[in-house]
């Protein structure tokens, strides 16, 4: 049985302009100890998906349906008291911006101790010892002295380490990392990713890695889902996504990735246009206004997310025929795909 099984998740927000369908029928599973990468542009619903699983959406405006079965219990329908017990204990979260994710008026020690004491029946002294242990594990130098410092006394990378320490402090089964490296500079990003990989093995946690950076996915994920306009457009193993991508949007993402072995004259491919409004998503395939391979059927009929023949577990949502796809993928992977314009 999967650790987390999300089925047909929908999160809609009531706004003054109408209903925004931020997540529209998303399904995926996370296996114990594995890493699932969720990729997509800003606003495609990848963060909302996970905030919904954690029950952290604004209650007043969100309409939620579907299931998120975690260790046999549905997170979406359980009482909020039970969900609170799970949050920070069985499922922990790391957020994008370490500069604003820690409370500026409490010392980091106090915030770590709080995370323990909310779930464990331990004394303050024991909690503090555990906090110190975690700060050392995430590589905070002179942790004994720094535990009483305040967030503003740490750099961005160090703050993200503190956030990771806080997330792992109760030894969670699942860690949701929402763009954990986006706000950091490149060398710090690499350190944080390496740290997360090391700790994942140590703590044996599953990770949902939300990112718009395919590089991060390639480095960390076992399975990948690609989201576009509140839906999953492709799902497969990291090997399948990088070596046999099946959706034109995935091609666009891969094509926009700079490669070291590229001809310096070769221009990166960009996906033209903007992601659609989730208030009024396009008819038919949601990607069709930006798709260079658009056909008549794409404008009228939404393709289903279907398994690719001969590739079990690899799903895609596109009308394009297999032969064309194989041809285009070959071109893409050899780096000569025509600029989509």
């Amino acid at each position: 049985m999967a650790l987390l099984d999300v089925k047909d998740l929908r999160t809609h927000f009531k706004t003054d302009d109408g209903i925004v369908k931020a997540v529209d029928g998303v399904s995926f599973t996370v296996e114990k100890g594995q890493t699932l990468g969720i990729v997509g542009e800003s606003g495609c619903g990848k963060s909302v998906t996970n905030l919904t699983i954690m029950g952290l959406n604004p209650k007043r405006t969100a309409i939620i349906s579907g299931e998120a079965i975690f260790k046999g219990e549905d997170l979406l329908s359980m009482p909020s008291k039970r969900l609170r017990d799970i949050r920070g204990n069985d499922i922990a979260m790391i957020f994008q911006d370490p500069m604003t994710s820690l409370n500026p008026v409490h010392s980091i020690g106090k915030q770590l101790v709080e995370a323990i004491m909310l779930h464990r029946d331990v004394t303050k002294k024991q909690a503090r010892a555990r906090a110190l242990e975690l700060l050392k594990a995430v590589g905070i130098p002179r942790a004994e002295r720094r535990i009483d410092d305040y967030p503003h006394q740490f750099s961005g990378g160090m703050r993200q380490r503190v956030m990771i320490a806080m997330a792992l402090i109760n030894d969670p089964d699942l860690l949701i990392a929402d763009e954990p490296t986006t706000a950091l500079d490149v060398t710090t990003q690499a350190q944080i990713l390496a740290l997360m990989k090391r700790l994942q093995q140590e703590f044996d946690s599953a990770i949902i890695m939300i990112t718009h950076d395919l590089g991060v996915v390639a480095e960390t994920a076992d399975d990948v889902i690609v989201m576009y306009a509140a839906q999953v457009v492709e799902r497969g193993s990291v090997h399948e996504i990088f070596n046999s991508p099946h959706h034109p949007y995935t091609w666009g993402l891969l094509g926009s990735l700079p490669r070291l072995d590229d001809d310096p004259e070769h221009r990166l491919v960009q996906i033209p246009g903007q992601p659609p409004s989730l208030l009024r998503p396009p008819q038919g395939c949601r990607f069709h206004p930006r798709c260079p391979y658009v056909m008549e059927i794409c404008r009228t009929t939404q393709p289903e997310l279907e398994e690719i023949p001969g590739e079990p577990g690899h799903l895609q949502r596109c009308h394009l025929d297999e032969d064309t796809k194989r041809r285009e993928v070959e071109k893409l992977l050899s780096g000569t795909m025509a600029e989509a314009s």
Binding site: R87, M93, T100, V105, E114
Partner: protein, 324 residues
């Protein structure tokens, strides 16, 4: 910290000189003759001249100002009233507790109202309570304190006076009452309506401010972090939202109290409270410069002291201030 304090105190001295000097200048460009007022209605020109000489009004303005400063610094004396020859220290000393009673009691009252109302309407925006609070805010900020004072006095003091038994005028000393009416209970009874009047405007402003601050803080990332840790809402609110949301409120509260200690003229006038505002009004009418100046000195000091207190308090609750 010490250097910071010294710098603050030097600035306070500069501010103090500037404010008192401006009072002098304004006083002397007013087209009125305090000597004539002091000498009385039937006084001859010779009497007026003698009065002017006696009060030192013939000296150049800078000399008079320096004399005021010298007396203040060396004798710690604010001088004597032109009109009554009373010691100004004594006048201010008698009026200040009245104003302080009004301001501090009023501040307690307006915080008691605005904290729960502001927080609850931030937690339940667009609810019935929130909408009712916004109507209250609108009334509070629109209505003039004199009007509110008169309405309160009419209804609670007169119309329903048989039930409430609330006095609508005068002041009762808290300790060492000068008259038969005095002591803590009388003091409290006399202050209820002035407090309510004085607090209404401020509580309206503070409800709006607290509501906005709490709502803003609720959207902060660290509040989401606290929820993601599994903290119950009550703890999120207490430990993560309120402490941050109250930072600006503390600043404004300190500044408002400092400012109001200079005299709450409208409320004191409506309820005939012999506070600084009332005294200031009367001394200006009488062209009684030493009294006006004495109240200005006190008010300036109050503002300076409270701003300093705010800074110290702010550093105590916000670690980001402490070290920079």
């Amino acid at each position: 910290m010490l250097r910071y304090l010294i710098r603050r105190l030097l600035w306070a001295a500069v501010l103090f000189v500037a404010v008192t000097m401006v009072t002098y200048v304004i006083f002397f460009i007013t087209p009125a003759d305090p000597a004539r007022l002091v000498a009385g209605r039937g006084a001859t020109d010779a009497d007026v001249a003698r009065a002017a000489e006696f009060l030192g009004l013939n000296d150049p303005v800078p000399v008079q100002y320096l004399r005021f400063l010298k007396r203040l610094v060396i004798d710690q004396s604010l001088g004597f009233s032109f009109a009554t020859r009373q010691d100004v220290n004594e006048i201010v000393g008698r009026a200040a507790p009245v104003t302080a009673s009004l301001v501090f009691g009023g501040a307690v009252a307006w915080m008691l109202v605005s904290l729960p109302v502001g927080i609850l309407s931030a937690l339940r925006p667009r609810s019935l309570l929130d909408r009712a609070a916004m109507v209250f805010v609108l009334i509070g900020v629109s209505a003039h304190p004199v009007w509110i004072g008169l309405i309160f006095a009419y209804f609670f003091g007169y119309k329903w006076g048989d039930i409430t038994h609330l006095p609508i005028t005068g002041y009762a000393d808290f300790i060492n009452p000068a008259t038969a009416e005095g002591g803590p209970l009388e003091w409290f009874r006399h202050m209820i309506l002035p407090w309510a009047t004085f607090a209404l405007l401020f509580s309206a402003l503070y409800v709006r401010m607290i509501r906005a601050n709490v709502m803003e803080t609720m959207n902060e990332d660290y509040v989401r972090t606290a929820r993601a840790k599994g903290a119950p809402e009550s703890r999120v609110l207490r430990s993560h939202v309120l402490r941050n949301a109250m930072l600006p409120v503390v600043t404004i509260l300190g500044m408002d109290i400092g400012l109001a200690l200079g005299g709450a003229i409208f409320t004191e006038t409506v309820y005939s409270l012999p506070g600084l505002g009332n005294m200031a009004l009367r001394s200006i009418e009488n062209l009684d410069l030493p009294v006006t100046q004495g109240i200005v000195v006190f008010a300036t000091l109050a503002v300076i002291v409270f701003n300093l207190l705010v800074d110290i308090l702010y550093a105590a609750i916000d670690p980001r201030i402490r070290l920079s």
